[in-house]
Symmetry: C2
Subunit: 271 residues, 2 copies
Amino acid sequence: MKQIALYGKGGIGKSTTSANLSAALADTGCDVMQIGCDPKHDSTRMLMHGKWIPTVLDLVREKGDKIGVEEVVFEGYGGVRCVEAGGPEPGIGCAGRGIIATFQLLQKLDALYGDVILYDVLGDVVCGGFAMPMREGYAQEIYLVTSGEFMSLYAANNICKAIARLSKRSKARCALGGVICNAKNIPGEEELVREFAELVGSRLIAYVPRAQIVQIAEVNQQTVIEFAPDSAQAMVYRQLAETIQTNTETSIPTPLEMHDLETLARKHIPV
Amino acid sequence: MKQIALYGKGGIGKSTTSANLSAALADTGCDVMQIGCDPKHDSTRMLMHGKWIPTVLDLVREKGDKIGVEEVVFEGYGGVRCVEAGGPEPGIGCAGRGIIATFQLLQKLDALYGDVILYDVLGDVVCGGFAMPMREGYAQEIYLVTSGEFMSLYAANNICKAIARLSKRSKARCALGGVICNAKNIPGEEELVREFAELVGSRLIAYVPRAQIVQIAEVNQQTVIEFAPDSAQAMVYRQLAETIQTNTETSIPTPLEMHDLETLARKHIPV
Ligand SMILES: Nc1ncnc2c1ncn2[C@@H]1O[C@H](COP(=O)(O)OP(=O)(O)O)[C@@H](O)[C@H]1O
Ligand SMILES: Nc1ncnc2c1ncn2[C@@H]1O[C@H](COP(=O)(O)OP(=O)(O)O)[C@@H](O)[C@H]1O
Ligand code: SF4
Ligand SMILES: [Mg+2]
Ligand SMILES: [Mg+2]
């Protein structure tokens, strides 16, 4: 069983990439589970044809722990099993407690199985809360989703700091599997993200173009894999699925210092 | 003493707006303190001519609580007193514990005073941690910084949820003072943000254009107020300072449901 997590800044394309990755893996016959760990709880929407599935946290708040597996695990495109953790109560909760409560419930229900489990995790703040999937040994191969924009590289670098620190703990078994550039079509972006990946001791495993077909598939409430299975964009996601499925190369990243990150960004992208 | 907080999504322009606001307030003779509560700890950089001041959290980790006020409070442009809380240790800490530790230390050092205290807080995740300035009664007038982009309105709406919930607690005294549109020059953006502000029971108090002068001032490591005091952009920040200084109108917001937010965004911005 491969346990992977996609981490990255909010809005960078984690859910779009995750859903298409899960769909592409399912097309090759894999048994896939996708668990959304972003308070926005829209990770699996395109796999579920636009449906907002109930979040585990909302259910736990309502019903305590008398919850059946059919209330939290839903089957989407290609048989992908979909779960949404949900988010903290604005102002009072902790995202981390919510994520861990979700995993423990799924374990109790014997629902954490498959060829691939994919965690889609918000990476804006890499506190103890959002690092839970790594800390507790659930997420083992981490893939960073970033663009060439400074803020998203900054978030990716912070995630590297968390991986480097947590990898020394006994329970965590996390390592960096690679960097995915989900492009914003900025000149020099691919070289910038490739160099960033190499500087932190990893590699760029996919360059996903920013493409109109993604928005069109989204309006049709489907993944690109389902909506336009033979499109160039679908091939990019299938290639990514193949790369991740066969990837055995991981590393413990060496994060950059802030001034090195600033110098790198300035080198590739003129102000 | 006015205790205000700017909340918004990462990268939306909170620190740029805060620093220019503080500088504009200082120019009118106000005694201002600005406290950065974003793990990125660059809130006061332009007030400090590009200097990265030490964060309270780093100092506390190093020296425990034997810290003098001159080690955490630095004087920047116009006499603005600058502090950076810093962020959680990636992967293990909690942003909230750090923010509250900062406030308690400043209180112990008798350093929390002035005509205006301005908190610059990350609003991507409105968990108990980042809501601390509101929960503990420090931040009383909240100003949302947003653009017309869906992700930033989504974050702004979440902050409204936190304000609405926390305002019922005895210790918190928070209310929404208004919405600031820090433009991304998207067609229809001003009307969209104005309508959002009114739907949540507040109002648009400033439309800050996206302007090249901001980047130029930044490369010169100054606020726009200092670098180009007579520019149109500086006048926008001065106008904002005047509006906030004299503002007595606050409200408890009524956040939007997710589908209402999506409908609103689609209405003003063609896909
Ligand atoms: N490769 C792409 N090309 C075009 N649009 C994209 C691409 N990836 C993501 N998007 C768009 O960006 C938006 C944010 O993506 P999403 O996956 O929800 O981000 P995240 O999960 O990181 O918050 C979506 O509306 C999606 O349509
Ligand atoms: N009105 C504006 N016009 C042009 N650029 C802006 C404006 N406001 C912010 N920026 C740019 O956006 C970037 C992010 O702003 P920042 O204030 O650091 O965001 P935040 O504090 O919300 O993370 C900065 O590099 C800044 O130059
Ligand atoms: S650990 Fe993270 S998610 Fe939890 S309260 Fe602290 S900052 Fe928020
Ligand atoms: Mg997402
Ligand atoms: Mg900032």
